[in-house]
């Protein structure tokens, strides 16, 4: 059983009561629809015969009961449909509202290689559109019940006219459903084809539209538009085929209903006329009852595809290293390749030309890279064997891109400390030299900073990212270019307050930077080269340069 079907089964179980009511309502609708026309047909024909037989017979004819049944059926059908829809959708939407966060949690628990490799657009369309498609599947749960009761009612109406019309109707119904199933299989293939060519078109589109410079340089824009149009034609054709399958369902349903009515009439030719009338209309409505079921079959291909895509999202193996290792509360960091040991509380600068891999080292430490690098150790263990949760607990990270959530200043700070009081938030902003700026904003901490902090300037975003890292109580701060884009005066303030903060908290830090001011905080400096690294620093024994043994970088005394 797949993870998705387990989730769906659990939701079905939770909604059992409401779904049962929806099923009952669906049955009422089907019974009402079939009986309404059947009884009406009988009623008119019987009235006509009674009318012809003279005033006496007409007076004796009991018209109250059938008239009441007809009205009852009309109410039953309307009310039942309304109840079925409202209850069914409420149950389905509730289930999906719970399914969505579970899928999100599943993505976050997946290995980083998978989770960070997801394309944003793709993942969010699965989350929104594919889950919506599953809703349709939930809503259709009562449909087979309705069909069953519709058929049963149809039989009650048909049997008085004879076994033959009843059997003929059943046979036509069976053939219709069989054909519907066959059509569904064929159209599902068309649906899969649409998915395939859409993915191909998207790939092509993304490649071409993002190569703007090349297209412009060689004057290839027209060519690119034609290339996209060619892939687009494939999608248009596939979608047209899928849409056109709907036509077969329309043909099947209409022909079957008409055939059933005529056959039932022909087979009850020798019967009392009102019974034949009831049989003809009843047969047509019985076959008509299969409509929602057929539409369900038609949509099945789409659901299966959606479920398949969601399953791939959910069934990435969850992270488990298999080894129970737990680094100390305040672990030391060892770089075997550079021969450097960072003792808890020490402050190390990491420098080197851009693209040399400084950020990569920080990302490995925070567990944001899928990597088999065993040359970096936390205490005695290499990074790949440590559970990411334990790894991340050791670090507070201010990334190079100073990424932000779309939300308020407070939302972004609370990311690091969910329970932090406003005082703590302001203190962190103060230490990042941003408190005055935020205070000046009309809504202070509640100011909405837009997608990825678009409302803030680059420098403000960077300082907000720093404040956020400060709020996380972790033994190590990892700061990637903490002062890039700041003017000198601000940089100086940020660095001074960072110095005070580090002294007070006893946190260690790795600071990636090109600039002298933040590097001045460091007791050691690792400079990366193409061919290795140079380590300079202050060890417990005083200033030294790396020799044959590892350099233990300890906090300044």
């Amino acid at each position: 059983m797949t993870v998705l079907s387990q989730l769906i089964a659990a939701e079905k179980k939770a909604q059992r009561g409401w779904l049962a009511i929806a099923c009952l309502a669906s049955m009422a609708v089907a019974a009402g629809s079939v009986a309404l026309l059947g009884v009406s047909g009988w009623f008119i024909t019987a009235s006509a015969l009674a009318g012809l037989a003279g005033p006496l017979a007409a007076g004796a004819f009991n018209y109250l009961l059938p008239a009441a049944i007809i009205r009852l059926c009309a109410i039953l059908r309307t009310g039942g449909r309304y109840a079925e829809r409202v209850i069914g959708h409420d149950a389905a939407l509730g289930a999906l509202a719970r399914l969505r966060p579970k899928i999100f949690a599943g993505i976050m628990a997946a290995p980083v290689k998978f989770a960070l490799g997801l394309s944003v657009g793709d993942a969010s369309s699965r989350m929104v559109q594919d889950v919506d498609l599953l809703e349709a599947r939930f809503v259709r749960i009562p449909v087979p019940w309705g069909l069953a009761v519709g058929v049963l009612t149809g039989m009650v109406i048909l049997v008085p006219a004879g076994i033959a019309p009843a059997l003929a109707t059943l046979a036509i119904l069976g053939i219709t459903i069989g054909c519907g199933w066959l059509l569904a299989c064929l159209s599902a293939e068309a649906g899969r084809n649409v998915q395939r060519v859409t993915a191909r078109l998207k790939d092509r589109y993304a490649t071409l539209v993002s190569s703007a410079s090349e297209l412009r340089a060689y004057g290839l824009e027209n060519w690119a538009a034609q290339e996209i149009a060619r892939e687009s034609e494939a999608l248009l054709k596939a979608q047209k085929q899928l849409t056109a399958w709907g036509g077969w369902f329309a043909l099947l349903q209409a022909t079957a209903a008409g055939l059933a009515a005529m056959l039932a009439m022909a087979l009850s030719a020798h019967q009392f006329l009102p019974l034949a009338a009831m049989a003809a209309l009843g047969a047509a409505m019985t076959v008509d009852c299969a409509g929602p079921f057929l539409r369900g079959l038609e949509a099945q291909g789409g659901w299966a595809e959606a479920a398949h895509r969601l399953e791939r999202l959910l069934e990435a193996p969850t992270v488990s290293t298999g080894i129970a290792v737990r680094p100390a509360e305040r672990p030391e960091i060892r770089f075997l390749r550079f021969g450097a040991v960072l003792v808890p509380g020490s402050v190390t600068g990491l420098t080197g030309r851009s693209g040399i891999g400084k950020t990569t080292i920080l990302e490995k430490l925070v567990g944001l890279r899928h990597d088999d690098d065993v040359t970096i150790l936390l205490d005695r263990w290499s990074l790949p064997v440590i559970d990411p949760a334990d790894l991340r607990r050791a670090f507070a990270y201010a990334p190079q891109d100073a990424a932000m959530l779309a939300g308020s200043v407070r939302d972004n700070l609370r990311l690091a400390a969910g329970e932090a009081t406003d005082d703590l938030l302001w203190q962190a902003l103060e230490d990042a030299a941003l408190a005055d700026t935020i205070r000046a904003l009309p809504q202070g901490l509640d100011t909405w900073i837009g997608e990825n902090g678009a409302v803030l300037s680059g420098g403000e975003r960077r300082r907000l990212s720093l404040a956020r890292a400060y709020l996380r109580a972790a033994p190590w701060l990892l700061l990637d270019e903490p002062t890039a884009g700041l003017d000198q005066a601000t940089e100086q303030r940020v660095v001074e307050r960072l110095r005070a903060r580090l002294a007070a908290s006893g946190q260690g830090a790795i600071i990636v930077s090109h600039r002298p001011a933040p590097l001045a905080l460091c007791t050691a400096l690792i400079t990366l080269h193409e061919s290795g690294a140079e380590v300079l620093g202050q060890s417990a024994e005083g200033p030294s340069r790396l020799g044959g043994h590892s350099l233990h970088i300890s906090p300044a005394v």
Partner: protein, 563 residues
């Protein structure tokens, strides 16, 4: 404040009018197919009338024996088949109409997106969603909604047929139609506002989710998984509530449909029954053409449900219209962006002189300028290396020359021509970027993008000049080696060489390179630098790079500082 509310309403009305015009235009681009689909669907009502007649007259002929009824039974089967055939044809022609309209629209969107200046261009992901997914959501609108709308007139056909058999029956149907339409309007108005709210909730959920996927590294690094999951649960719960609010209204209106359809059948049945029994009130008698007989009574009974069918069909495709309106807003927003002026390319004959004169460049929505009063004079044939940290504006300088962005202030000259809408150098520039465009096809086809009419020999020469000989020697099919879209099997250095070969095939007097050695290892870089130096000879060359080794081949180094 008191003025802003009506203004907002006015804007909304205008937006609605524009959207309606846009959708009408779109509907027309389906060509005659939309009309055919609608007409065919209207004919379905005629087939329904035939079927009702077959039922009624077949039944009344039944007492005279099966042979007497047989022609009617055949008519019934034929009518039902014709009816299904109408649905079938309408689905097919509707699908074809949708295909045509979407094809035209997507091509327009693509060309528009490709021509938009980079500074105005939304992210590739957003453009892709618009041109592919949004355009696809118009399918139902053209294929189903428009034909269903055209076929509403079918109900009048049914009404006329009913009136011929029994004016009172027709009056009953018409009377139930009025409250029905009233109810539809009422529910429709309420639904529009609710639908807007629901749409916003859905957008919000999509946006929250997309944002959290984008910021996933942050969430993981700060171990905020639980908090973010509950936030998402909140957005999902909100969407559920709003969707239910929309659906309740939608279901009320469809229950109204059901009710009146059922009521019409019930009323017609009861009326006919009483009439046949001779119990109908005296005052309705004069409205019959003679006495209402069984055949006519049965006929209008069978026809009663058909009366509502066109409206129900329209209601069933109503969400197609709603999603089309949403898609239209998104597509119109992109199409409304400044239509790029068609630029006339300058044909460069010799290595040009390039002058940046106090160029200021600020991207919309950014608070600081990427370039400020940037001035640079490059002599013909000079090779200039642009150095500086990421974000200092190196790539922007190259894009200014390509005309992909326009200076906010100041001007760029090539020889004596100021670049602008009237003059670009597109088509006479060589370009090598960090990740060259690789398309599915052979190696030769990839190189020949720069000059599609090049002969095989010319391509081979260009490939050799770009230093691809060693690589070609290892491939059995040489230049005919197939390459897939992702360029699998090509190393970083080889991709750059393919880009360089493009330049050698169409050697322009101006060569621009954007970090061409960024994804290349040290050994490959050294070899590539030599090839680039060769390419730069005799042309004006600008190289944006971080690599000291590549910068060493330049005559001049310009350092840019990040702000």
């Amino acid at each position: 404040m008191d003025r802003s509310a009506p203004d907002f309403r006015l804007l909304k009305t205008r937006q609605k009018a524009r959207r309606a015009a846009w959708l009408a235009e779109l509907g027309k681009s389906g060509g005659g197919m939309t009309r055919i689909a609608g007409t065919v669907l209207t004919l379905e009502s005629v087939a329904a009338i035939g079927f009702a007649a077959a039922l009624a007259y077949g039944l009344t002929a039944l007492p005279r024996g099966l042979p007497a009824a047989a022609p009617w039974l055949v008519l019934g089967v034929v009518s039902a088949t014709v009816r299904g055939g109408c649905g079938f044809l309408s689905a097919r022609t509707g699908a074809e109409a949708a295909r045509r309209a979407k094809s035209i629209l997507r091509d327009r969107m693509t060309r528009h997106s490709l021509a938009l200046p980079l500074s105005q261009r939304p992210e590739t992901g957003a453009l892709m969603t618009a041109a592919i997914d949004r355009v696809e959501t118009l399918d139902g609108y053209i294929a189903r909604f428009l034909p269903a709308k055209a076929a509403v007139s079918g109900l009048f056909l049914v009404l006329v047929a009913t009136a011929v058999a029994s004016p009172v029956g027709a009056a009953i149907l018409a009377a139930t139609l009025l409250p029905f339409i009233f109810l539809m309007i009422l529910a429709g108005t309420a639904a529009a506002d609710q639908a807007a709210a629901q749409f916003q909730a859905m957008m919000r959920l999509g946006a929250v989710f997309a944002d959290r996927i984008r910021a996933l590294p942050l969430i993981l690094a700060f171990q905020a998984e639980a908090a973010e999951t509950s936030r998402l649960a909140q957005a999902a719960g909100d969407l559920k509530r709003r969707t239910m609010a929309v659906l309740r209204i939608a279901f009320i209106s469809s229950a109204g449909l059901e009710f009146f359809a059922a009521l019409a059948v019930a009323l017609v049945a009861v009326y006919c029954g009483f009439n046949l029994l001779g119990l109908a009130p005296e005052f309705v008698q004069p409205f019959h053409f003679g006495h209402l007989d069984l055949a006519r009574a049965f006929f209008i009974l069978a026809l009663a449900p058909e009366f509502y069918l066109p409206m129900r069909r329209l209601a069933a495709t109503y969400h197609d219209r709603q999603s089309a309106e949403t898609a239209a807003d998104g597509l119109m927003a992109i199409a409304a962006q400044a239509p790029p002026a068609a630029a006339a390319p300058l044909a460069l004959q010799a290595a040009p002189r390039i002058r940046f004169d106090h160029v200021m460049l600020r991207y919309p929505g950014h608070d600081h300028a990427v370039l400020d009063a940037f001035t640079l004079d490059i002599a013909p044939g000079q090779t200039v290396a642009l150095l500086g940290p990421s974000g200092a504006g190196k790539t922007s300088i190259l894009n200014l020359l390509l005309g992909l962005v326009e200076p906010t202030q100041g001007r760029v000259f090539i020889d004596d021509h100021a670049l602008g809408p009237l003059a670009t150098v597109a088509g006479s520039v060589g370009w090598v970027g960090q990740s060259p465009l690789i398309t599915a096809g052979t190696l030769a086809e990839n190189i020949a993008l720069a000059r599609p009419d090049a002969t095989g020999t010319e391509i081979l020469l260009a490939a050799r000049e770009a230093g691809l000989s060693a690589m070609l020697a290892t491939r059995a099919q040489g230049l005919q080696t197939d390459i897939d879209e992702r360029g699998s099997g090509l190393s970083g250095g080889e991709r750059q060489r393919v880009a360089l070969a493009r330049f050698f095939l169409n050697p322009a007097p101006l060569l621009l390179l954007d970090e061409p050695t960024a994804h290349v290892d040290a050994a490959a870089e050294e070899a590539l630098v030599a090839s680039i130096a060769k390419a730069a000879q005799g042309r004006t060359t600008l190289i944006a790079t971080h690599s000291p080794r590549l910068a060493a081949i330049a005559d001049r180094i310009v350092r840019l500082e990040a702000e």
